[in-house]
């Protein structure tokens, strides 16, 4: 895997809506590189006969029946919201997207 560049970190920061200073970008590029290096060791044992997995248990087709169960009340749903209005979650203006 290619090294993590400062530009990669800047791109990720933008996607994650995290503001970072130039110093922080430099610092994070080094740190992420180290983390990736550690994780990379997994690839050493991931040979062709070990299929990639996304779940710790080898299960499939776990389904529920299509049955409605009670939801939260409006008050409960909004109880953790930092801001609310008109029975809805209130969020800051959304910029740059439609």
């Amino acid at each position: 895997m290619a090294a993590i560049s400062r530009d990669d970190v800047a791109h990720l920061a933008k996607l994650a809506r995290v503001e970072m200073t130039p110093d922080e970008l430099d610092h994070m590029a080094v740190e992420l590189e180290q983390i990736l290096g550690a994780v990379k060791r997994v690839q050493e044992v991931a040979t062709a006969d070990i299929p990639p997995t996304s779940h710790p248990l080898s299960m499939s087709n776990i389904f529920r029946d299509d049955v409605v169960k009670p939801s939260l009340t409006n008050e409960e749903a909004l109880s953790g919201a930092p801001a609310k209005a008109e029975d809805r979650f209130k969020v800051p203006q959304i910029l740059g997207e439609e």
Binding site: S54, S60, K69, S71, L72, N74, V91, I94
Partner: protein, 499 residues
């Protein structure tokens, strides 16, 4: 604009691509047991799973998987023996989890097709639309942008979120690019969405109401000079929420692109929004910076691995393809094209079929639904099917066929049923609408008519058959219009020695 649609398509060749999103009509959401009812008050159908609260664990709705496989089979797709969900990461408050659970490189259904027929100048022509994939995902919440003049995001002071819709099962059906439609591109697109809607409705997997957003279409189109063999830059028009709009949006977009190209400008790859009032599109988000959703397999969900037995069980449940069914019924009923089109446009084919199944004579079933019942529905501005049941219509038609009701009386019965006076039998009873068919009762009226017009009676006896009209009129008047005119004529002529 300098190029109109006709000249635009004489110079440029459009290439289409269509993405249709359909909300399934399951009772509960995709990954949690919240209800999915349309129009519930805001944030009353949410739970820790669909609100993305920490520690919540999603579980797949089996019915939704079944519906998706059915859709895939109806669209001639292969069903993947192994497929997985993936997280589509993005920051936008319509998904409280900051990702949408979707499918990425392992969709449930792949490689299908749908043949759509349109009317061209050279008669009906069939286009094969290749389906690239059918995958499962979840719908997003609804945003309300407050402040600003237009209700658009730009200039809004804040947004309000209702997550009732977040997590409703959503199936995305993606075509491959559709080349070679030429100037018929907008009609092919409309026919495709129409046929898809009919299939989804026949499968019973969705309400397919475009105006409520349970069926939505994004239309991609690009232009290239005819014969150039190159593929132009495409735009994607979103929010197209009626069949007519699919056609209008593409017509407008083809004109717009052609004029830009004609003026030497380039097409920007972007998302555009359809404006219902003007039929034009306006630019939305530019896709110049490629989207980066950082998809990865959803670790909270296990793979879906439908076995052949399950798939074949579902295949056996597939209803007849609606387009084939239409052709079959048209043949069985022996209906001219124009009338069949009227039936389909009025969405009356199903009820007519049902009415016929209940024993009604086919021509009468069609005439009553398309005629009197549609007329009343028009007056009341409701759907014909909401006025009267197929069973009642079949009952009334049976009474016409047996001679117990004339068309005129039957109209009164229909009107009575529609105004809530009860069943046809009750309306007939209450309004006293039965045809006077008792010969002896009729004979009294006939004798009276002959006695009142002896000259006319004499002319008929002498062979002047058409003169019987005057006597029929008199008998009908005497019986309050409740006699069968044909029967009256027969009795009169027989009585006057002409039968």
């Amino acid at each position: 604009m300098t190029l109109d649609y006709k000249s635009a398509t004489e110079k440029f060749e459009p290439t289409l691509g269509l993405e249709v999103h359909v909300e399934l009509n399951t009772n509960s959401k995709m990954f949690c047991s919240c209800a999915t009812e349309f129009g519930a008050s805001p944030n009353t159908q949410t739970c820790p799973v669909c609100l993305g609260l920490p520690g919540a664990l999603p579980v797949v709705n089996g019915k939704a998987i079944e519906s998706t496989i059915l859709i895939g089979l109806a669209l001639n797709c292969s069903i993947a023996p192994y497929s997985r969900f993936a997280r589509k990461n993005y920051f936008y408050p319509d998904m409280p989890k900051n990702f949408q659970t979707s499918q990425y490189d392992e969709p449930i259904c792949v490689d299908g097709y749908l043949d759509v027929e349109i009317e061209t100048e050279d008669g009906p022509k069939t286009f094969r639309v290749d389906i690239e994939r059918v995958h499962m995902e979840e719908d997003t919440g609804k945003s309300l942008h407050v402040g600003g003049a237009t209700g658009r995001i730009h200039g809004a002071e804040y947004s309000l979120l209702d997550y009732n819709r977040a997590g409703i099962p959503l199936v995305e059906i993606v075509t491959r690019i559709i080349p070679g439609t030429g100037k018929y591109a907008p009609q092919v697109a409309r026919a495709y969405v129409t046929q898809l809607r009919d299939i989804l409705r026949a499968l019973g997997v969705s309400d397919v109401k475009m105006e409520q957003g349970s069926l939505r279409c994004d239309a991609n189109v690009s232009l290239a000079p005819i014969g150039s063999g190159i593929l132009g830059t495409r735009s994607e028009t979103k929010n197209v929420n009626s069949l007519r709009s699919v056609e209008r949006a593409l017509t407008g977009e083809i004109e717009r692109q052609a004029n830009r190209l004609e003026a030497g400008e380039r097409i920007i790859q972007e998302t555009r929004h359809f404006l219902e009032e003007s039929g034009l599109t306006r630019p939305g988000r530019s896709k110049e910076q490629a989207e980066d959703y950082r998809y990865f397999p959803e670790p909270d969900l296990v793979p879906v691995t439908p076995d052949a037995k399950w798939i074949e069980e579902l295949r056996a449940k597939l209803p007849e393809n609606p387009a084939d069914r239409r052709k079959r019924l048209q043949k069985e009923w022996n209906v001219p094209d124009a009338e069949m089109t009227s039936l389909i446009n009025a969405e009356l084919m199903d009820v007519v079929e049902e009415t016929i199944k209940l024993g009604a004579e086919p021509t009468r079933a069609r005439t009553w639904w398309l005629g009197e019942i549609s007329r009343l529905a028009n007056e009341k501005e409701v759907a014909p099917t909401s006025l009267i049941t197929t069973a009642f219509v079949a009952e009334i038609i049976a009474l016409i066929s047996s001679g117990d009701l004339t068309d005129k009386l039957a109209r009164q019965v229909v009107e009575g049923v529609v105004s809530g006076e009860g069943s046809p039998a009750e309306v007939i009873e209450k309004r006293g609408l039965k045809v006077v068919s008792d010969d002896s009762a009729l004979m009294v009226a006939i004798e009276a008519a002959i006695a009142a017009q002896p000259d006319t009676a004499e002319r008929i006896r002498g062979g002047n058959i058409p003169a019987v009209g005057a006597l029929i009129g008199a008998v009908m008047k005497a019986t309050g219009g409740q006699a069968d005119a044909a029967k009256v004529r027969e009795l009169l002529l027989r009585h006057l020695g002409q039968g």
